[in-house]
Subunit: 905 residues, 2 copies
């Protein structure tokens, strides 16, 4: 680097040598400070040492490049002039902060050093000037501690020991109870500690302090934690970190001082009003600490009208400049206003939506920008009840935030109890080790669900999200004793009937009742969503199994059903009995079909049918009983979704899920179906699977028992015909799950079509329908060019596809996935956000191969990822036609799809 | 087709118009008959209607092309001349057979029609000539039945009813007890039945019969079962079927007649000698039926020396011509020898090997041809004891032939009993619902294993094959009552101690003791294997977990260990106790590590270590106890494999597999480890997984508990150093299982390397080693370009890769995979032969991606497919370096690899 090359950039006094575009050279923080300064924002003056210097410094193994020292000295002089104070001058000392700041925000590097410039004589000057010796020694001992720890690597713990000893000696409990003399003693101790560990005296010269601090910032670029962070986040190609040296200002130098935080709009509601709070004669941390109660911003007008006027004018200007709601920190030092920071303000979902819509109306931003201003996931807040943010919470433990919302209810431990108590008008939370389809009734009856096992896509979590019901799952440190009807967390015991609260957004399990607030959707919400809909290319459908869910999702803007699961329908009310009766007859029934197909003469066939007459009657009779139920289900759903497509997935779970696992329930089944309990137990054992995820389920059931899908196909088409006759438009799409090969699809599909043609013949009418398949087995994606020959649509079931591609069972992975995310092996839980590198590659292959033989192939996604913004962006990029998600995520998906369309133009 | 185009091809009288190369036009059968005839083999004369005629016939919707009739008539005349007989001439009738025959052998088309040409007057002539009315009416009624059923679609059942009625009336049991008069009555009845169902009289004219039969052959080309067969087997591009019309000859026309079967070498031993048997005055079916005992071929020399001389000369000639052992059928009609068929003879493995080696020595075939002459799977016969083929078997039921061989032992129902009885000198067969790693000791003690659940790659099957032990698995119709120590199949009950026999090759479960024969490896076997080794490109390693297995495999020619599983080592003897103790401490130990890594001061860290001191001691102490055991294991294996590479897979199964599931065993564990039974039960429940296949196992264990792999890495390297010091060459390859991403591999690998470097430092020496990974999770194959950056070798674990790619659990799929193979969805069980379309695509991707970043990457396969010939061919084609399989499959793999090299030149 040439000696006369510019290495240091000044800002302050309404000017700056840098600007916002120079992030690479000045780092994010330095560029922003320069920009603000140029805009005339009264930021405390300072200078930035460029990132290129850090690179040079490292190449020179810790030596300053030639010319740097003189440039720093020149800038210190300039700063002294702008601030009207002098480094090391006891009568008017300049104090500075030193901070790191790379082009990309990057935790892991050096923390801030504040109040650099303090020394023994400056302290005396401050005491003389403020008359506050306690204040002076307090900032001095803090500075020695911070400088020692952060700059010189003398661990904070050593200083902590000394102040602890001082408190013991003074017989006080907290630091702030130490008086000036005692603190002076602490300062001496600190200096001794510093000398002992660093090996030198604490530096009294301001420039010496500054040089050491600058070196520490440079060195921190190569700290292992910083390198690790860059590696994990794929941050490459940066030169190093910049160093920001900025004058300190104090809001606590007297009653003409103060400090505060302000927002250009209300961050809670989005209303266009100045909003904020401040404290007189205080430091920034006092506002945050909450020991003194801050005053509302408006009051500043009374106390310091000039500063208030200046501040609000700045607020208006900065919002216009940055075209976004600003969150600003300010300090008034002896009546002079300084802005310490301005940035886009964090806001609630309601505020985000209102700001976005208002700013479009104000012509401050375009519609496209407005769409990018709301975080999709945030919208969830608007759709679920939430806890009163002011209420106290007695948090017992934390699990996975499986389904958002807030629930307060009495703990119960079985699905039956939940239903019974609900019938008695009680509000209950169902607490289970894990849930299974048998618990559906109880889950429906409960306001919230708590499980000890299972992950974000466990049965409990998926069903709860579908129901829009709060759920905390996989809380591994609760111990449930179902028999004794209680659970415990450490020593806290919750018995049946005790009140608990669940925060499904934070995953908290809370003792007692926490008051909740109901959601209200604003007019702006509708307007905002309409903006999104204009931009997005992806369709948004919903996963819904009931007319209620379908209606709710339609209200949220769903354009059809992308996944209507049929398994829950097999559990409802009385239906489970024919289902179980069918299962008991299934083996003999199948044997009969097999033997008949092997038999060579009509006579033999007849004899076989006679032998198995009972099983035949039982199996086919059960399906006959189920048919009208299913027809009713589909009729109601088709009506609720009239005019929109409805994708019905044929039966998916393994049959054993329909059998009772517990002894009492097995006994009940035996009584109801007039068999021995031993027979029931044998059936349960026979159907037991080691890995049910990879077992006899999905279309594999139809390969063995074609009659089940036939019944369902008949019910769907009969329902569709009925609804069409009632004058509504019906668009049924029949989806065959768990396909692994085209031959399998063809076999099952031919049966389904045959049954449908029979219905058409009987009813003497026809309707349009589609048949497609889920792509959820890796092999189906790998051979999609074959599968697509027999499918009119693909729906990627990315839950199962993720499980099989990554080899994780979603019900078991909770135990170790945390370690994976912690070690950075996977950036996020792959069940929450699609693993684009691995699973995504299969999805892309599936789409390309599928479309290569069938250009018209309609492609969607119906896994949980269909409601996750980053995954939706992926779906947009790979050219899907639609995403499908649970009703409560439909608005999120609409927004995310719009953002994806904008981001990938 | 031009009228004068040649449509019919004659053969007979030592000449032929076609030859062996004309398969496309004449079908396989027609071309062979022509070839034999040209060679001067005395086949009964006949002619073939070309396949192109079938095409023409179908295009003309069932009309004969112009000119065909006259060509057929001409050829009939020619045939009459050659055979010296005339169609329809009662005094000297020509009878013919009519058969279909396409270019590719294809079941599903028309069956044979024999004795065409019979009618009422010909019958009278035959009676007059032979004086045997019974014989005449019997062939006539058979002909009407066959012609009616096969040609005219009048079901055999109708004829069966009539003969049944005749037998009832005659009060006899079997057809052959009907006398001539009664059979004449049956003929009349048959003709009436024919008329009733066909609607016309039974045709009396020979040419009319022939035309109908030819039409039936043509029509059978388009039968659904034939189309289905072509579709399933991807047979396309064929014109149609040919029709073969051939003169009938009779071995049962008197004492100057006979019939027999002969082989040019002994098909049982391979010895070069004429071999066969014959019957005088008999039909071919009499030889097969076993009612009369045939005479050895040599006796023919005495009875009919001329025919014998002619036959043996032909045998010698045909073997030379076809350059393979021939299996021939012959008939002598009135002293004239006819050859009905000659083909490559089926032979035992021993014979196949001997023939191949002998024929090379005789310069009859090349080495390359010799290699293709032995079926790899056949070799299995040579390596396992087998049942005496003459012994009677009382087969109770059949299951999956999970591991070949023959076992005879007393049934026991627990692993402990197996071990105890073995210790008492008894021979036992272990009968289990399913096996788990807890049963290893018992499996080792037993001579055979029988399970009610699990497929070809279930725990029982894999372990048994590894041990070279006979196993029949997944016998779903046995009902095991472990408590009562018995099992039943239908009404047969086998109690503990009862003798049973297992045929692991056929999957049979047999009551009582069947005598067995031990295998002996011939000198030819070694020579044959050496030929294979010269040709093959693929290395062949073995999967072996013990020095015994390693030595055995080395004896079979293994070039290293491709998979040494370490989990079984954790069960042996006393070792299970430290393992279990470690598991009990694991959770607290992990918490400790976590909290220490989160702690910020050394003091905090110390305090945390104090809190968890007991867990730390217990966990680390257990590993310390395991280390010497593991070191000893590896030392013994390295010694057994000195000079060859040994791939050790680090611990793979989920930890719960090491805990006892049964109450008694849990109580024992509680006593041994001085905890409450409740604590044990809780641990078992805590570690329970819904889908253990996709659970906390493989390298995932190392992410959570790095100390386990560190202990194993240390044991491997310490053992290797010790063996090297003893003067042996050691080539350890450390394999990390279940990798899903490169970050995961890097994390685990870095730990392993760190530990190895510590060992090097302590021992002040270094050795060469490799670190690689299994590719068994689809994601690893999909991202192999990333994974290969951190791996020195890939070993495809195609068992798990198949499970995850196809979504089948190998333990559960047995229940429905049968349906899949039956419906032709998968041609074979994908756990037996690699699914090349789906799973194979991933394997290919993995290899290409892996080599794209790491050209030196060594690639092998260690799934069960590594020993399956078609899969080995695939491995050769995709460019793997080696296959690894169980010891007993090593010779099979060597042969299959050689065949693959020859087939893919």
């Amino acid at each position: 680097m040439a000696k006369n090359k510019k290495m240091v950039y000044f800002f302050g006094g309404g000017k700056a040598e840098g600007n916002a575009t120079m992030k690479e050279l000045l780092g994010g923080k330095g560029a922003n400070l320069a920009e603000m300064s140029s805009l005339g924002v009264p930021v405390p003056g300072g200078f930035t040492i460029a990132t290129s210097v850090c690179d040079e410094y490292n190449k020179k193994k810790g030596k300053w490049p030639a010319g740097l020292l003189s440039q720093v000295e020149t800038n210190v002089k300039k700063l002294e002039k702008v601030m009207g104070a002098k480094l090391g001058d006891p009568s008017n000392p300049l104090l500075v902060s030193v901070r790191s700041g790379a082009a990309v925000s990057m935790p892991g590097m050096m923390d801030t050093v504040l109040n650099l410039g303090l020394n023994d004589s400056v302290i005396e000057g401050i005491i003389a000037k403020t008359g506050n010796a306690r204040f002076a020694y307090d900032i001095y001992r803090r500075f020695i501690d911070m400088f020692g720890d952060v700059v010189m690597g003398c661990h904070h713990e050593h200083f902590e020991k000394a102040i602890h000893a001082a408190k013991v000696k003074a017989k006080v409990e907290v630091d702030s109870d130490l008086n000036a003399d005692q603190l002076k003693g602490v300062v001496d101790k600190y200096k001794a500690i510093y000398k002992k560990h660093v090996g030198r005296m604490f530096p009294q010269d301001g420039m010496a302090q500054l040089k050491l601090a600058v070196n520490a910032v440079f060195d921190s670029w190569n700290l292992p934690r910083a390198e690790k962070y860059r590696q994990l986040n794929n941050i490459t190609g940066l030169l190093g970190t910049a160093v920001n040296v900025q004058a300190m200002v104090f809001g606590n130098m007297g009653n003409d001082c103060g400090t505060g935080v302000c927002f250009t709009r209300n961050p809670s509601t989005g209303k266009k009003e100045f909003y904020g709070e401040f404290l007189m004669n205080a430091q920034g941390e006092d506002v945050v600490a909450g020991i003194r109660t801050p005053l509302p911003l408006k009051k500043l007008n009374k106390v310091m009208p000039k500063a208030y006027k200046e501040l609000t004018a700045l607020m208006t200007r900065l919002e216009k400049h940055y075209k976004d709601m600003q969150d600003m920190e300010f300090t008034i030092q002896q009546k002079k206003l300084y802005i310490l920071q301005t940035r886009g303000g964090k806001r609630t979902a309601a505020a985000a939506v209102k700001c976005a819509v208002d700013m479009v109306n104000e012509k401050l931003i375009t519609r496209k920008t407005a769409i990018t201003r709301v975080e999709p996931d945030q919208l969830d807040q608007l759709l679920h009840p939430s806890f009163d943010s002011k209420a106290k919470r007695d948090v017992m433990t934390t699990g996975l935030p499986a389904s958002p919302g807030a629930a307060v209810g009495q703990a119960v431990f079985t699905a039956d109890t939940a239903e019974a108590w609900k019938a008695d008008g009680k509000t209950v939370i169902l607490v289970r080790l894990e849930t299974s389809p048998e618990d559906i009734g109880g889950m429906d009856a409960a306001v919230g669900i708590l499980t000890a096992r299972g992950g974000m896509t466990s049965h409990a979590a998926v069903v709860a999200r579908g129901m829009g019901k709060c759920c905390v799952a996989g809380v591994s440190d609760i111990v449930i004793n179902e028999k004794a009807k209680k659970f415990s967390v450490g020593k806290t015991v919750i018995k049946q009937g005790d009140w608990i609260s669940l925060d499904g957004t934070a995953g908290q399990v809370i003792k007692g009742k926490v008051p909740t607030v109901e959601p209200k959707l604003s007019g702006e919400f509708g307007k905002f969503m309409a903006m999104c809909d204009k931009v997005r290319k992806l369709g948004v459908r919903t996963n819904a199994d009931t007319p209620q869910d379908a209606k709710r999702a339609r209200g949220f803007g769903a354009e059809g059903i992308g996944l209507c699961r049929t398994e829950h329908m097999f559990f409802e009310g009385e239906r489970i009995w024919p289902v179980r009766s069918m299962i008991l007859a299934a083996e003999d029934y199948t044997k009969m079909l097999q033997e008949i197909s092997d038999a060579s003469t009509p006579k033999e066939k007849k004899a076989i049918a006679r032998t198995y007459a009972v099983a035949k009657k039982q199996f086919e009779g059960a399906l006959k009983k189920l048919l009208p139920y299913q027809r009713r289900d589909f009729t109601a759903i088709f009506k609720a979704m009239a005019g929109l497509p409805v994708t019905v997935r044929l039966l998916d779970p393994p049959l054993h899920e329909f059998l009772p696992q517990e002894k009492d329930n097995q006994a009940e089944m035996a009584r109801r179906l007039k068999v021995t309990p031993r027979r029931v137990k044998e059936e349960v054992e026979k159907l037991h699977e080691f890995n049910p995820m990879l077992g006899h389920r999905g279309c594999r059931l139809a390969v063995t028992y074609p009659a089940i899908y036939r019944m369902q196909a008949r019910a769907i088409i009969e329902a569709a015909i009925a609804v069409k006759k009632a004058g509504k438009v019906v668009l049924p799409e029949i989806m065959i799950p768990l396909i692994g090969s085209v031959e399998e699809l063809k076999l099952v599909k031919d049966d389904v079509i045959d049954e449908i043609n029979q219905v058409f013949k009987e009813k003497k009418t026809k309707i349009k329908y589609m048949i497609g398949t889920m792509i959820e087995v890796p092999r189906a994606a790998l051979t999609a060019d074959l599968v697509a020959k027999e499918a009119e649509f693909f729906s990627f079931g990315t839950n199962d596809l993720t499980q099989m591609t990554m080899g994780f069972s979603r019900d078991d992975a909770g135990k170790f996935l945390g370690d994976y995310v912690k070690h950075g092996i996977y950036a996020v839980d792959p069940f929450q956000a699609l693993d684009q590198t691995g699973v995504g590659k299969l999805v892309e292959m599936g789409i390309q191969l599928g479309r290569s033989v069938n250009k018209k192939l309609k492609i969607g996604i119906c896994g949980e990822h269909g409601g996750e913004p980053a995954s939706i962006d992926f779906c947009h990029r790979v050219g899907m036609n639609y995403v499908s998600c649970s009703p409560f995520r439909v608005p999120i998906a609409r927004l995310a799809a719009a953002q994806a369309a904008l981001a990938n133009k």
